[in-house]
Subunit: 362 residues, 2 copies
DNA sequence: CTGTTAGCGCATTCAC
DNA sequence: GTGAATGCGCTAACAG
């Protein structure tokens, strides 16, 4: 028993396929009577409009494409769910592509989504300033918004101010009495955010007249960072605080430090970035910069959809969402007041702990 | 500048669209000379076969559909990446749909993927024994394989033996001297795995002549389980071990217990299920059942693809992959030998710690 | 308001 | 080995 087509529905409703199409897809003018007959016929046959025929004819698929580096980092999983929320609210579906932090695969994945006639593209790319994927979107005329990336001029994006946030981290570390800072980076080549956070840290330390940060880059594919950390400490034995370019990396670094016999935060403080939920569940709890992850996806999709509804391209500017430093036991001593006092902790001025919505009580 | 079509390629190559199609999609017989001219023309024009026209014409999209409850649990993220690996190896792409643990959305999402002519469907459903999504796949003739779900007769699936694994957990808990066990379940209505794990626990306890487990169901949407845990302890104050139906839940439960002033594992042991990487990074490290998550997705897709290559439907049976209990500080005292000794810990016989590949050293 | 026509891009007949 | 013709399912023009 073959899938019914719109012609079957039309036949059953006693009208032409064109009228059935208008009735079913809300297109042109249809009499109320015809609409009812078509709806009834469609229901009776279990008919659904075929997205393929539709997309081929209309040039748009009714789907939003999402391009993310990986699903392994919950940050992207949450952002994708944010996109889905916004898309579903507009009656669109979502097509997800992951590229494994591989800049080369970005362009190909973007093309694959564009080929499927996505109505818009929400992406996180390795390097927003030189992205083939953004290029492809432009050239194809597919509206496009970045998330997480801070965009170059002319590109729409939703992000946080990575440099400023890193500055907040520097401030908090210095306030906690840490003096010799290191930065553990996911590879700059695969994450411009990582580089911006490093730059923000370095700039803040320079401004404070503090020693410049040590840098170690690690691969996103690795989960065991003991070797990299050992090498770092061989080079700079007296490091007392590590800023990691994201939370999942920070958790792995804490485990690596523990394996190397260094205690967190007594020997080395660790701060992450993103504010993933699991960071608040560990012990020590993870000090981090909380960012509105799901909102990033939702807003990026929202920009696309709002623009689409008005038949114009999305505004080529960055929407910078607020971030918030969240203190945690991995930096300073809620769990260890003595050590904290030794290190002359002062509360970071004017910064209150903001709970993420998932953690808030009802 | 319009996208080139296959007709443009044909014109440039001096042949008919039919020949160009045969050359580009590896279909029928083409002379070597023609193939070279077509390839050159396609390259010169930057031509790519249009997946839409192709799918419409062939009735298959060259994509595998994946249906998962959520991206928030890394278990599914990993499994999806497993599917992607297998699909990419076969030259297919992946279409992901998430349904937010909502059984009602399952069928709709499955239909949406089927409408897009996916070559096959890899799904994790709320209840494999009564799944509308599986039903839809069958009726549409779309090959389908479950992952994580233990299937009813006649359905292909890749899974672990949830009941047996839960039995292993019961054994480990008893061996660690725990006597009053509780089970913290993700809602049975949205996860048959959760129910099976509970059943396995209950059966093993019955067989050992131990007290039956207390049960508390919590929502996957919640992150704060203090109220549920408080209610559980009000009912059964002397509970000394909690088995949680998955690792993310277990981590949240540990945080909840800590918030309630109960120490883990001294007051209450906690064991999870899945073996997510982050569980090995926390303190206390999470005792759990390690399952081959990515392999689940890879194998499910593999079954589909192997069957497709031979033009037959996938074998309607379960492929049961091995699981492994992994001891951790949340159950017994690697971190706390004194307590552990008090509780008369014996090493679980014949079970070695197996590291997941991500954690292994090189 | 409705029907007829045409074609989105492609792969497959079927002739040659 | 190649080309011409056809239609996958749908909707946008256009005419009525």
């Amino acid at each position: 028993m073959r899938r019914p087509t719109i012609a079957d529905v039309a036949a059953r409703a006693g009208c032409s396929p064109a009228t059935a199409s208008r009735a079913l897809s809300g297109g042109g003018p249809v009499s109320e009577a015809a609409r009812l007959r078509v709806d009834a016929a469609a229901r009776a046959l279990g008919f659904r409009l075929d997205p393929l025929g539709r997309a081929l004819r209309r040039g748009r698929s009714g789907a939003i494409g999402v391009l993310a580096p990986s699903l392994a980092n919950p940050v992207f999983a949450e952002a994708i769910e944010g996109v889905e929320v916004a898309a579903a609210a507009a009656g669109l579906t979502v097509l997800v592509a992951c590229v494994g932090y591989d800049a080369a695969r970005e362009a190909a994945a973007a093309e694959a989504l564009i080929d499927r006639r996505v109505d818009g593209l929400v992406m996180t790319v390795a390097d927003a300033a030189a992205s083939l994927a953004v290029d492809r979107a432009r050239r194809s005329g597919t509206p496009c918004a970045l998330m997480f990336n801070q965009p170059p001029d002319g590109v729409t994006a939703v992000c946080v101010d990575n440099r400023a946030a890193a500055g907040d981290v520097a401030e908090a570390m210095l306030a906690a009495g840490r003096r010799r800072l290191g930065f553990v980076a996911g590879r700059f080549a695969t994450s411009d955010r990582s580089r911006q956070r490093f730059e923000g840290l370095a700039a803040a330390l320079a401004e404070a007249g503090a020693r410049p940060p040590e840098l170690v880059e690690v691969s996103y594919a690795d989960h065991d960072h003991r070797a990299a950390l050992a090498a770092l400490f061989a080079r700079a034995p007296r490091i007392d605080a590590l800023f990691c370019s994201n939370d999942m990396l920070a958790l792995a670094v804490i485990a690596g430090l523990r394996a190397l016999g260094r205690s967190v935060p007594d020997d080395v403080a660790v701060v992450g970035f993103d504010g993933v939920a699991v960071g608040a569940l560990t012990q020590p709890s993870l000090a981090t910069v909380v960012t509105p992850t799901a909102e990033m996806g939702r807003a990026a999709a929202g920009l696309l959809l709002a623009a689409r509804a008005q038949g114009r391209p999305p505004a080529p500017e960055a929407l910078i969402l607020p971030h918030q430093f969240r203190p945690g036991e991995s930096l300073a001593g809620a769990a260890d007041p003595d050590t904290a006092r030794q290190r002359q902790v002062r509360p970071s001025p004017g910064k209150a702990l903001r709970q993420t919505s998932e953690e808030s009580e009802t």
